[in-house]
């Protein structure tokens, strides 16, 4: 089921009449059968978007299509969606079986059939032996699976996940991440999930959408978004350690930082630009610029060097061997790895 959002807008008005545009003119197409991550910092409108797709929030403007059906005005229960809440919202007074059964109770399905559906679904998410426990007796990861099973049992057209991993510890997070990916593959259901964790989004999504202040910044497959950010925000938001942003100028196709350090070449109009260089895109080079190695962190395979470049302190991630025991080394930037952004708009210059 392809999902199309057209000019979707949500404006919240508080008691004093102040307006907040949580989602602003969002137009995206989510391809059928894919796992798509909505990524952005806190308060960027990603959960609002999810809740609008779910039907829990009424959009202030714009349209939502599932395939060719306009579902903008449709009640949540008629949209055929499954939603997993951030804190799972499992009914605490019901057993796991009753929790998963609950959506089926509202669907006019025979009891025998419902029971088999519940058991199949519990088997799929791997909680087949926990069916008679209460949610409070389960671990966080198991509760998460129950929530997914409850969302999937009625065979929805779309599965929506709100921060699915944020309540799990680091180890479980990795495991559940793979689990979600597996379940999505096995069911082939179009899935949208919301997260503020870039690593999580990059590792499981087929496609990623980055939002900021309710405005779409970029939509691409994860690796492409990392290597070819559309604008300064996306470049800054993705990557850990974060990208280095420094001011530089271009003269006659040469990229210059500070007064005279030439770090690369690009055929762009002369002027002042914001330059983005990822820490791992520095390399050891005998012809490069000289860098003191007195501010370094050894992290095993790689070494982080901090050094001044232009007006800012830059981080570079280089091979530990090339730094070890030296007072200074020479670095250069890998070819075509300098991202050039317009000063005013922040758009990337190609």
């Amino acid at each position: 089921m392809e999902i199309r959002l057209e000019n979707l807008t949500k404006v919240f008005t508080d008691k004093n009449g102040r307006e907040t545009r949580a989602v602003d003119d969002l137009t995206i197409t989510i391809p059928s059968g894919k796992l798509v991550g909505l990524l952005g910092p806190s308060g960027c409108g990603k959960s609002t978007t999810l809740f609008m797709i779910a039907g829990l929030f009424k959009p202030s403007g714009g349209k939502i299509y599932f395939g060719n059906d306009d579902v903008t005005r449709l009640a949540p229960e008629k949209r055929g969606i499954g939603l997993v809440f951030q804190n799972y919202a499992l009914y605490p007074h019901m057993t796991v079986r009753q929790n998963i059964m609950f959506p089926l109770e509202n669907l006019n399905i025979g009891r025998a059939e419902a029971t088999t559906l519940v058991e199949d679904m519990a088997e799929l998410v791997g909680i087949g032996d926990q069916l008679d426990k209460k949610p409070s007796q389960l671990s966080g990861g198991q509760q998460q699976r129950v929530a997914i099973a409850r969302a999937l049992v009625k065979k929805p057209r779309v599965l929506l996940l709100d921060e699915p991993l944020s309540n799990l510890d680091a180890r479980l997070r990795l495991q559940t991440r793979e689990e979600i990916k597996r379940i999505q593959r096995e069911t082939g259901i179009t899935t949208i999930f919301v997260t503020h964790d870039q690593e999580e989004a990059m590792s499981i999504s087929d496609k990623m959408v980055v939002l900021d202040f309710g405005v779409q910044q970029q939509m691409a497959i994860p690796q492409e978004m990392y290597t070819k950010p559309d604008n300064l925000f996306v470049a800054k938001f993705l990557g850990n350690p974060p990208i280095n942003i420094l001011e530089g100028k271009i003269e006659n196709g040469k990229i210059i930082i500070g007064d005279n350090v030439v770090i690369g070449a690009k055929d762009v109009k002369d002027g002042i630009y914001d330059l983005g260089i990822r820490p791992e895109d520095f390399k050891f080079d005998i012809n490069g610029f000289k860098v003191d190695t007195n501010d370094i962190d050894h992290t095993g395979r790689d070494t982080m060097i901090r050094f001044p470049m232009g007006d800012v302190i830059v981080r570079a991630l280089v091979d530990s061997d090339s730094v070890y025991g030296k007072n200074s080394i020479k670095l250069s930037v890998k070819k075509d790895k300098i991202h050039i952004f317009e000063k005013e708009t922040g758009h990337v210059v190609l």
């Binding site: 779910a54 949540p76 969606i81 919202a89 605490p92 609950f102 959506p103 509202n106 669907l107």
Partner: protein, 352 residues
């Protein structure tokens, strides 16, 4: 205003300091007078020390009377002034009370009040609480309105009810100055009824008592239920909505189970409270609990507590106090049985 606020703040500051200094001085006093050991008492001993005043009063005015009335119920010819008695009887007093026609009537009256008014108040209270939780504009205004009976005097409400249900054989025949209830009945073309005055029937009077009990107990139940409902995470309702549950279904499957501890608490306390009904009958009928209907005799609306008070009223006669005690112990046993049953049911039905 600002000046006043500043003064208030200064005052609070000084008050707090005074309290602090005085507590320091108290400790010093204890230590100077070789009472410092009290501060080194173990926790449970200190707790008993602090509880002692309340425990003493409870022991004198509650525990001793309970124990004593248990003993008195086994005496014969007990004199309340001298405390002398002729001897013991095992169940004699109980047999007298249980065979008394008025006691049977009192048990029946009380049972009707308990088993009709308690379920109605709980259901109506729950529905009102849900409705109050759903309204958006003027929310606190409506809440205040529904909480008002809680802060209103029982007898005052009783008087208002007496006016609403006023009307006796004479005023009905000559429909002037009828109560609101009768006015509404005549408005719809019905015949006015003598609710609680001369010419009333058992059921008309009982209806008024039940209506009064429901109304009187409603406010507190609404407060408790509303607090419970407001404590439910909204996401459960969102989840239920996505799962396709209707409004009524999410009420029965989510709201009710999630506030079941409150419902259970209200159920137990109001069953106990209703078994002890006394003042509502006084407020609606009269201090006798009887409606005299001329030649036919009277309609008896006494509850069990009424029956006990009647005996206490006649306790100047030797041995009568033992009947009152026996009746009180019987009431205690009835309440105990019902509470134990409810607790057993609650173990399986209530989700904490």
């Amino acid at each position: 205003m600002k000046d006043f606020k500043q003064k208030l703040r200064d005052f609070l500051w000084r008050a707090r300091n005074t309290i602090h200094f005085s507590s320091v001085r108290t400790t010093e006093f204890f230590q100077r007078h070789h009472l410092g050991f009290i501060t080194r008492w173990p926790g449970w001993l200190k707790a008993i020390f602090y509880l002692a005043p309340a425990l003493t009063l409870l022991a004198i005015f509650t525990f001793y009377p309970i124990f004593n009335s248990f003993l008195i119920s086994f005496y014969t010819g007990y004199n309340i002034q001298t405390g002398e008695f002729d001897g013991y009887t095992f169940l004699g007093n109980y047999a007298v009370v249980l065979q008394h026609a008025n006691f049977k009537q009192a048990v029946l009256n009380t049972a009707i009040i308990v088993f009709v008014s308690v379920p109605i108040t709980i259901i109506v209270g729950l529905l009102i609480a849900v409705a109050l939780n759903a309204v958006k504009p003027l929310k606190s205004f409506y809440q205040t309105i529904f909480f008002l009976p809680y802060v209103t005097n029982t007898i005052a409400i009783g008087l208002v009810f007496a006016f609403i249900f006023s009307g006796n054989t004479n005023t009905i025949a000559n429909p002037v100055g009828l109560g609101l209830a009768n006015q509404v009945i005549t408005l719809f073309g019905g015949k006015p009824i003598a609710w609680v005055a001369t010419g009333a029937t058992y059921w008309s009077a009982m209806t008024v008592i039940l209506a009064y009990s429901v109304w009187n107990g409603l406010a507190f139940k609404i407060i408790v239920f509303l607090a419970g409902i407001q404590g439910i995470d909204k996401q459960y309702y969102q989840a239920a909505q996505i799962d396709g549950a209707s409004r009524s279904k999410s009420f029965t499957r989510i709201t009710v189970p999630l506030i079941s501890p409150m419902i259970f608490y209200i159920l137990i306390t109001s069953v106990i409270g209703s078994f002890k009904t006394y003042s509502s009958v006084v407020a609606i009928i009269n201090r006798e609990g009887l409606i005299t209907t001329g030649a036919q005799g009277s309609i008896n609306l006494k509850t069990i507590v009424f029956y006990i008070y009647d005996y206490i009223g006649g306790a100047a006669l030797n041995g009568v106090m033992s009947y009152a005690s026996a009746a009180a112990i019987i009431l205690f046993a009835i309440i105990l049985v019902f509470t134990v049953i409810q607790l057993q049911v609650g173990k399986r039905r209530v989700h904490y």
